[in-house]
């Protein structure tokens, strides 16, 4: 009910030290632009399975993930979902509002517990008008996100499930920042648009090769390089585009390349 008025004083982020921000877009902003947006940011927890934007509904908030990642899904009218992209601390969910969208085409859903900074759309648009650096960075992010989606579409059509699973785990690993992922096989099956039983087979092969360990719904990446070798080219293609657009100039992204613990 307070959405339209400024958030309560104790939640205002203006006192927040920009150096403690993990989200790379927020972290990369020049100080004056950061203070502009920080005045509207509210830090929230993300719950596993929480839906942030629903297909066809008005986008009311934009999210800058700090911890964990968000899955972007294309949903067909019979309810059949297919993941088209991931958003983690490198990005923004709900960014299509800067393209003039008011409703969400896709569904965005938290795949892990985590945290994000949230800002109401009206305030976000106002800030973007006054922050040319942020606007530029967001458009670049839109570009790399679109590249990710296009690559995913091509990958789904042409690559084998084992390669796709490896690619997906790498992308999830990059965005979550921890080697251990809490993910059920059911969930992965939905993300990849396949049956659970086929995910079991593919995950079993990666486990046998000593690349991942899968126990009680937790996947631990044991051999990151092995996982990169098991993935199709699509992982690298998308990672290269992120570096090209968001990471080449260290002034653009302070944190530099994607974090790899």
């Amino acid at each position: 009910m307070f959405e339209l008025s400024p958030p309560a004083a104790e939640h205002i982020m203006s006192k927040l030290d920009q150096d403690t921000i993990s989200n790379r877009i927020l972290a990369a902003l020049p100080a004056p632009e950061f203070s502009l947006i920080a005045a509207h940011l509210v830090r929230i927890d993300l719950q596993l399975g929480e839906s942030l934007h629903r297909a066809g509904e008005t986008i009311s908030q934009v999210y800058f993930p700090e911890i964990g990642f968000i899955s972007v899904l294309s949903v067909l009218s019979d309810g059949q979902p297919l993941e088209i992209g991931l958003v983690g601390a490198e990005g923004v969910a709900g960014v299509s509002v800067i393209l003039g969208a008011t409703t969400s085409y896709s569904e965005t859903m938290c795949q892990t517990g985590g945290a994000a900074h949230r800002i109401p759309v009206a305030a976000f648009k106002q800030v973007v008008e006054q922050a040319p650096y942020l606007r530029d960075l967001l458009l670049r992010y839109v570009h790399v996100f679109h590249v990710q989606v296009a690559q995913t579409a091509a990958c789904n059509a042409h690559h084998e499930l084992g390669q796709r699973l490896a690619r997906w785990l790498l992308a999830a690993h990059d965005r979550s920042g921890v080697p251990e992922l809490s993910l059920t096989q059911d969930l992965i099956a939905v993300m990849l648009g396949v049956r659970r039983s086929t995910v079991s087979v593919a995950a079993g092969q990666l486990q046998k090769a000593g690349i991942i360990r899968y126990q009680h719904g937790r996947i631990t990446i044991v051999d990151r390089v092995g996982l990169e070798n098991a993935a199709c080219e699509c992982y690298q293609a998308v990672a290269d585009e992120y570096r090209h657009m968001l990471g080449v100039d260290p002034a653009v992204i302070k944190a530099g390349e994607l974090r790899r613990p």
């Binding site: 294309s74 949903v75 067909l76 009218s77 059949q80 979902p81 297919l82 088209i84 299509s96 800067i98 393209l99 003039g100 969208a101 085409y105 896709s106 530029d136 458009l139 670049r140 839109v142 570009h143 679109h146 590249v147 989606v149 296009a150 690559q151 995913t152 579409a153 091509a154 789904n156 059509a157 042409h158 648009g193 080219e233 585009e241 090209h244 657009m245």
Partner: protein, 238 residues
Amino acid sequence: MARNSKAIDPPANRLLGLLAPRDYASLRSHLEPVPLEYRKSLYQADKKIEFVYFIESGVGSLVNTMVNGQAAEVGTIGNEGLVGVPLVLGDERAPTSVYIQVPGAGLRMRAAHFKAELKRSPAMQAVMLRYVHALFNQVAQSAACNHFHALEQRCCRWLLMTRDRMQSDEFLLTQEFLAMMLGVQRPGVSIAAGGLQRAGLITYKRGHVTILDGRGLEQRSCECYQVSKKEFDRLLGD
């Protein structure tokens, strides 16, 4: 098919039609008509974009080429769009290649002029960003459609989309392109197109498509045709 377009009002390209008269007039001085022949490359992946194109008729295809040479179609652009989206988002280099798959005609201008025009007019930039969004939605819808829907449904969808862009029930469409759009081998296309011919919905001879029964095609198409069409119509303000 290579109608000699001279960028006279009203623009055949729907995106140009959305621009304020002043913005359109300003763009026109840079636009030159070009024929869009089958297989013409408008730009190449990883290369600098030299020209942007506003397609007036025909269809361009965004293609991701895999390391093994396999080409995957990720989206199409017709008279509703712009070939040059990366420039709107701040990249001068193309992430995917764009080839003409259904021949037609269009207008082109130098990338540098286009960027200067965008910078000059926030209103023009807003129109282009709306298109970026619509194109993105098309790519996202196709991703799910290609994955879940039956070949014949998808084939109907692409035929209808091409008809809308050509504004004609007759057009040229090679089996090779249809196969790439549908993500199948050519024999798969023959089977799907054969079924539609036998049902009296189309004729398809030597790459020449004639749609005999558009309503019948719509009934056999998946929802994705209507979803994408509505989305473009809404975003492009029809």
